[in-house]
Point group: C2
Chain length 195, copies 2
DNA sequence: TATTATAGCTAATGTTTATTAGCCTGTCAA
DNA sequence: TTGACAGGCTAATAAACATTAGCTATAATA
């Protein structure tokens, strides 16, 4: 892996842990295994790293959740819907890169408009839009009762998003949170799915 | 107002805006109208201010949302339930002190266990517990269909919490967010309330 | 009235931090 | 072989920062 990539990698880890203002250029350099001034051969300055990171975060997010291909084929039963939903959450909750990106965003969301916007997409609109499409499709297939897909997507994803952010903050409750999520998803399906 | 109180007040504003690490003791002093060294007549150091603030945040939170008296009398109709719910959200979203406390917590939630815990209570468990009690009571009065009050409370409050945090981040969408919240609350009531 | 505590101030200190200047070495193309 | 460049290094710099020392004036207290 190139030094430049190692820098962004370690910077993301540190920014997620201690925030941008709580991280020094020297700390980043040390983790990479170089001296701080060498870092300026790859980036113009500290803020340049931050901008590279937000670009990377956006790109990775797009890659993971953006494409319609991510939806894959529509679940054909209640149990399949539940399984894929839970599996998706588990991935989101445990993948180290996504976890870091989420903590990074939560910490820096107030830095400027762009950060705010990406944070909203990342933890609110993105996943909701995805489920809106899935639920819409499954409504057409008669697996969901007729209702507003947007509202249903919100009611499914919002509790999950909140619990995931709790697990970022208090990882020791992960198991309990996973249970809550499963219970919630099952209840949601009982209420809004047919049969 | 005492100088000590003015210090915590201005510190909260600045910490909410720029974070703890992004705020200098000098900035706080300037807003208060004193010089930085004078601040040490009231607090042992910067971290001492932080701790005073988290105490204050917890106390205010308890005051606003903690007591059972906050629940007041149970709503006696669907429309009353909706009205009080929306009114509560509007207060939460717009009260300047609560808004600052929330931004402060979101920014500093990873600082230590205590911050994490208070953040979870503040934006997750606290409000859910309150609505769990309300919904439980209204179930007994026949206004809600029989169901798990905890799950219903989650499904009501989680989307609201997420939208409120969006409005902290992107206040220009406040109106749209308020609309979404009202739509969501009405849909929730249509599904889970009787008649 | 004499004294003491409070709460402000200026000046200073030591540390941390981001960044720059300038040097050295290994790699690769001309 | 020469020359240029990439990417590392050390040393230095200037600014920001938290904090301390010590002075002073005012207000409360004895």
């Amino acid at each position: 892996m190139s030094t430049k990539d190692r820098i962004t990698e370690e910077a993301l880890t540190l920014f997620a842990q201690n925030g941008y203002d709580g991280t020094s250029v020297e700390q980043i350099a040390e983790k990479v295994g170089i001296k701080a001034p060498s870092l300026y051969k790859h980036f113009k300055g500290k803020e340049d790293i931050l901008n590279a990171l937000i670009d990377m975060t956006e790109a990775r997010y797009e890659e993971f959740f953006g494409s319609d291909r991510r939806i894959g084929k529509l679940p054909e039963s209640k149990e399949e819907f539940i399984q894929t939903a839970i599996q998706r959450v588990s991935f989101t909750m445990n993948d180290p890169m996504i976890l870091k990106m989420r903590k990074f965003l939560v910490r820096e969301q107030f830095r400027n408009e762009r950060f705010a916007e990406i944070t909203t997409k990342h933890q609110l609109n993105g996943i909701r839009e995805m489920y809106k499409k899935i639920i819409e499709g499954m409504m057409n297939n008669g697996l969901f009762k007729e209702d507003d897909p947007e509202l249903l997507a919100t009611e499914l994803t919002a509790p999950v998003a909140l619990w995931v952010s709790q697990s970022d903050r208090q990882p020791r409750y992960k198991d309990e949170i996973a249970e809550n999520i499963e219970k919630h998803v099952r209840h949601f399906c009982d209420v809004y799915m047919t049969a």
